[in-house]
Symmetry: C2
C-alpha cells in the first residue's frame, strides 16, 4: 500500500506541474465555447425536443409505464466490465478525494444497478436522460459526447414473448405518432444465431466474435463480412458459407414456418429450435397487434452488445439516410451481475434513438418554420405613452384567469414594435390599451393574423379571449 | 512542449500502474450504492416531482417564457472565479486528454455564458436541470451533491422594476399553485445596503465582507452579527451600530416612504437614494399585481452571491421549519465577464428551491398516499385460462383508441391477483374477459372502487370507457 500511495503522490506532483504549465500557456486564449462534442439547445430546439419527448412519453404512459431517475454519475465499479472495448469511452471524474466516479454511459446499466440495489423484481419503466461517451464526435452526423437516451424496459419473470411483443408495439406507436415515414422493425433471436453457429461448426468460444462480424452486415456486404470471419477470426471457408446461407435470409411468419418444417439441421440444435419457436410466437403476437407489415424476421440482425440473451430488434426507417432509430432486446443476466447472490431479474428493453429522431424532425420543422417557442396567448400592448400601470393591471387580470400573457418591459414601447413581436413569436391575440380604451373601460382585442380589431368591455374580456382561443384551436 | 508531453506520458504510465494495483485491491469489496450525496428517484418520487415541475412550468409558460438547455459540464475556465470560496466545491472531470472540464455548479453562470456566446441581448427563459456541488452532504436536511435547480431569468435592457415585479409575481404564483402555506417575499436592494455602509462610514473595500455578515441575520442574532463585524472584520462599534439601526428595519411602502422623507442621511447618499427609489417603484408595481400582503421590504436581506447588483429577494415560508424556498436578484455584470468586448446584458432571475419544495410536498403526499405512479385507465384482465390472445386483441383496440391500458405478461394470471394489482396501483377500470364474454362479444367492465360490473358490447366499449373516465374525473 505504501507503494500505491507513493505513486499517487508522484502523480499528483506531476499533474500539478502540468496544470501550472498549461495555465500559463492558456491565459488569455480562453475561447467561449461549449466542451467538445456538446452543445446548447436554444429555445427553438428545446421546443421541438419537448414536443417530441411529450409524444414519446404519452406512448409510454398509454402502456402503463412508470418513470425513475438515477444520478448522472455512478461508482466507477458499476460501469466496469459492462461495455467491453467501449469502456475506454467512459468519462471519469477527477480524484478530488472520496469515491471513484464515472459519468453514466447508458441508462441500462444504471437501471440494472437500481433493480439489484433495491431488490425490485418487476417494473415497467421509462427513463429519458443524457448519457456521456468520450467518442470522437462526428457532429455533422448527429453524434455527440453528451446526448439523450430514451429507454423503456420491462423487468420481471413473465411468460414468453408477451413483454417482447409490447416493446415492438411501443416502438411502432412511437414511430407512427412522430410520422417519421415508412419503417420496419427487424427481429431476431440470439439463440437462433447460436444455433446457426452450432450448425456451422463454429467453436463455442468464437460465438461472440463471429456474432460481432454478423452485426456488421448492415454496413458491409456479405463478402466483406465473410472475409473478416475467415481472415481475421480464423473461420474456415465452409463454416462461413453455412453462416452466409442463413444470415442472408429474411421474411415473415412464412420464413419461420419454412425453417421449422424444412430445416432439420437447425431444428436439431436445441438453441436453434428454441429461438425459432420464440420468434414464431412473437410474430403471432405481433400480428394480433396489427404489426404484420412492420415486423420482419431478419437473420442478419445481431446487435453489438454482449449482454443480450434472447430476442433482439431494431427499427429502421426505409428510404433516405435516417437508418436505425430504435433498438433493444432481452438481457436476462445483467441484473444478476450486481446482485450479491447473483439472483437474475429477466429484462427486456428498447432504446429510442431520440437524437436521430430530433435531427430528422428538426430539419423538417426548419422547412415548416411553424414551431413556436412560447405559448403566449395574449400580448398586452399600449397604444400611447404612460400606460404602464394599466398594462400591469391588465396582465394581472389575465394571469389570474390562467391566460398566458406578456407585455413589454419598457415603459413606453412603440405600438408597431409590440405588434411585430407578436407576429414574430406567433402570439395569436393582442389586447391594446389607449387612454381612450381605459376611459371607456374596454380593451381593443386584435387578432394578429387577420388584423381585425374589436372593442371588448373589460368585464367580458376574459370570456371573449377564451372563446377566440378555442375557435382558433379548432381551425 | 516536449517537456509537457513527457510529463503526460509518465503520468499515464503511473496511472495505469496504479489502476492495475487498485483493481486487484478492490475486487470483491464493491458495495452496491449510489455515489455519496446522490440518490435514485423511484416511481413515487418521480411522480411527485413531475407533478410539481409541471405546475411550476405552467406558471413560467403563463408568463411567456422559453426554455433552453446547456451541457452538464463546462470548460473549467467558464466556472473559474465566479463562486468565490465555494469554487472548492466544483466537481472536475478527470484529465483523459483534451479539455479541462467541470460539472456545472449552478444554472446562472452557464446561462450567462450562453448569452455571451450567442450574442443574445434579450430573452425570458426557464431552465430545470441538475447541478453539482462537492458539499458535505447533510442528506437528512435535504442537501445533496446532485440536485435540481429551477431558474427563471429575464435578460435585456428594460425600464426599472418591470422585470423585477414580474419575477416576484412568478414566485408568488408558484407558491400559490403548490399550496405551500403562508409565505412572504422579502425584497431589498444592493444599493440600499451600499448606502447604509456609506452612511455608517464603512470603507469601500469592506462593503462585500460586511454584506456577508449582514446576510447571516436570518440565522444569527444582531448581537452575534455585530460581534463578527467588530471582532472578525475590524469594524468600529459606532459604525456597526449605525448598520444595526438599519438592518433591523422591515415593513411595506410606509417604511420606504418614511425613509425617503425622514432619513436625510441615507437620501444624501446617491446609492441609498437610488435604491430606495427603486424599491418604492417595485412595491408600487407589486401592489398592482395584488402582492401587497406578500412582499416585505426587509433591510436585513443581503443574499450571499457576489454578482448581484440591484434588487434582491427571497421567499420564506412562514411558520414551521421550511424556510427559504426561492431567491434571486438582479445581476447586470455577469454576462460581460464572458463577452470579449465586455458588453453587459442586464439580467434578473429567480431560482426556486425545488428540492426543499419536493421534500415538503413529499412528506405531505406520504400522509395522503394518493399519488399514482402510472396513468393506466383500464386493466385488461382474464377470468379464465387460455385467453391471452383475446387480451392482446383487446389491448390493441384500447391503445388504438388512445386509452391507457395494460395487462398481465403471464399467460394465465389469477383473476384475484389482477384485481389486486388494480387496487394497489389505483387503476379505475378493469375490462374482464372470460370465455363466455368472448363468445357473446362483450366485456365485463368493472369499476375498481365500487366493484360494480356491467356487460358492455365490444362495439360500444371504447365510448363507454371514455364516458366512465370523464364522469370519474368530475367527481
Amino acid at each position: 500500500m505504501l507503494f500505491l500511495s507513493q505513486i499517487g503522490e508522484e502523480v499528483a506532483k506531476l499533474l500539478e506541474l502540468k496544470a501550472k504549465l498549461e495555465d500559463v500557456a492558456e491565459v488569455g486564449k480562453f475561447t467561449l465555447k461549449t466542451p467538445k462534442g456538446t452543445r446548447d439547445y436554444g429555445p427553438q430546439q428545446m421546443a421541438l425536443r419537448n414536443s417530441v419527448l411529450d409524444k414519446i412519453v404519452s406512448v409510454f404512459k398509454r402502456h402503463g409505464a412508470e418513470t425513475i431517475d438515477t444520478p448522472v454519475f455512478e461508482l466507477k465499479e458499476v460501469l466496469t466490465g459492462k461495455y467491453g472495448e467501449d469502456s475506454k469511452l467512459i468519462y471519469d471524474l477527477a480524484d478530488q478525494g472520496g469515491e471513484s466516479l464515472s459519468l453514466r454511459y447508458d441508462l441500462t446499466v444504471p437501471f440494472a444497478r437500481y433493480l439489484a440495489m433495491n431488490k425490485i423484481t418487476n417494473i415497467k419503466r421509462y427513463q429519458i436522460a443524457k448519457v456521456y461517451r468520450r467518442d470522437n464526435p462526428a457532429m455533422t452526423r448527429g453524434r455527440y459526447r453528451e446526448f439523450y437516451q430514451c429507454d423503456f424496459d420491462i423487468a420481471g419473470q413473465y411468460d414468453p414473448m408477451l413483454p417482447e411483443a409490447e416493446c415492438v408495439k411501443i416502438v411502432s406507436e412511437v414511430l407512427d405518432t412522430l410520422q417519421i415515414g415508412k419503417y420496419v422493425v427487424k427481429v431476431n433471436h440470439r439463440s437462433i444465431l447460436d444455433g446457426i453457429f452450432e450448425v456451422a461448426g463454429v467453436p463455442d468460444d468464437k460465438f461472440r466474435t463471429i456474432c460481432s462480424s454478423v452485426d456488421k452486415l448492415d454496413k458491409l456486404s456479405w463478402e466483406e463480412v465473410k472475409s473478416e470471419m475467415i481472415n481475421e477470426k480464423g473461420l474456415g471457408e465452409s463454416e462461413a458459407e453455412v453462416i452466409g446461407s442463413y444470415v442472408r435470409l429474411n421474411g415473415g411468419r412464412d420464413l419461420v414456418d419454412k425453417l421449422m418444417v424444412e430445416d432439420t439441421r437447425l431444428m436439431a440444435s436445441k438453441k436453434g429450435r428454441a429461438g425459432l419457436e420464440a420468434v414464431a410466437l412473437l410474430l403471432q403476437y405481433c400480428q394480433l397487434y396489427g404489426l404484420e407489415d412492420v415486423v420482419k424476421f431478419d437473420l442478419s440482425l445481431a446487435r453489438g452488445l454482449d449482454y443480450y440473451t434472447g430476442v433482439i430488434y431494431e427499427a429502421v426507417v426505409l428510404g433516405g439516410d435516417v437508418g436505425s432509430v430504435a433498438g433493444g432486446g432481452r438481457y436476462d443476466t445483467l441484473v444478476a451481475m450486481f446482485d450479491p447472490k447473483h439472483r437474475a431479474v429477466p429484462c427486456i428493453g428498447v432504446s429510442l434513438g431520440v437524437e436521430r429522431l430530433f435531427s430528422v424532425l428538426e430539419a423538417r420543422a426548419e422547412a415548416d418554420k411553424k414551431l413556436r417557442t412560447t405559448e403566449v396567448e395574449v400580448y398586452v400592448a399600449s397604444a400611447q405613452k404612460n400606460l404602464v400601470l394599466e398594462r400591469l393591471k391588465l396582465c394581472k387580470e389575465l394571469w389570474d384567469a390562467n391566460i398566458k400573457a406578456e407585455h413589454s418591459y419598457k415603459n413606453n414601447p412603440k405600438l408597431l414594435a409590440q405588434l411585430q413581436h407578436c407576429e414574430e413569436m406567433g402570439v395569436p391575440l393582442v389586447a391594446i390599451l389607449g387612454q381612450d380604451e381605459v376611459a371607456r373601460g374596454v380593451v381593443k382585442l386584435r387578432e394578429v393574423v387577420t388584423r381585425q380589431e374589436t372593442d371588448v368591455p373589460r368585464s367580458e374580456m376574459v370570456n371573449e379571449i377564451r372563446k377566440r382561443l378555442q375557435s382558433m384551436q379548432k381551425q
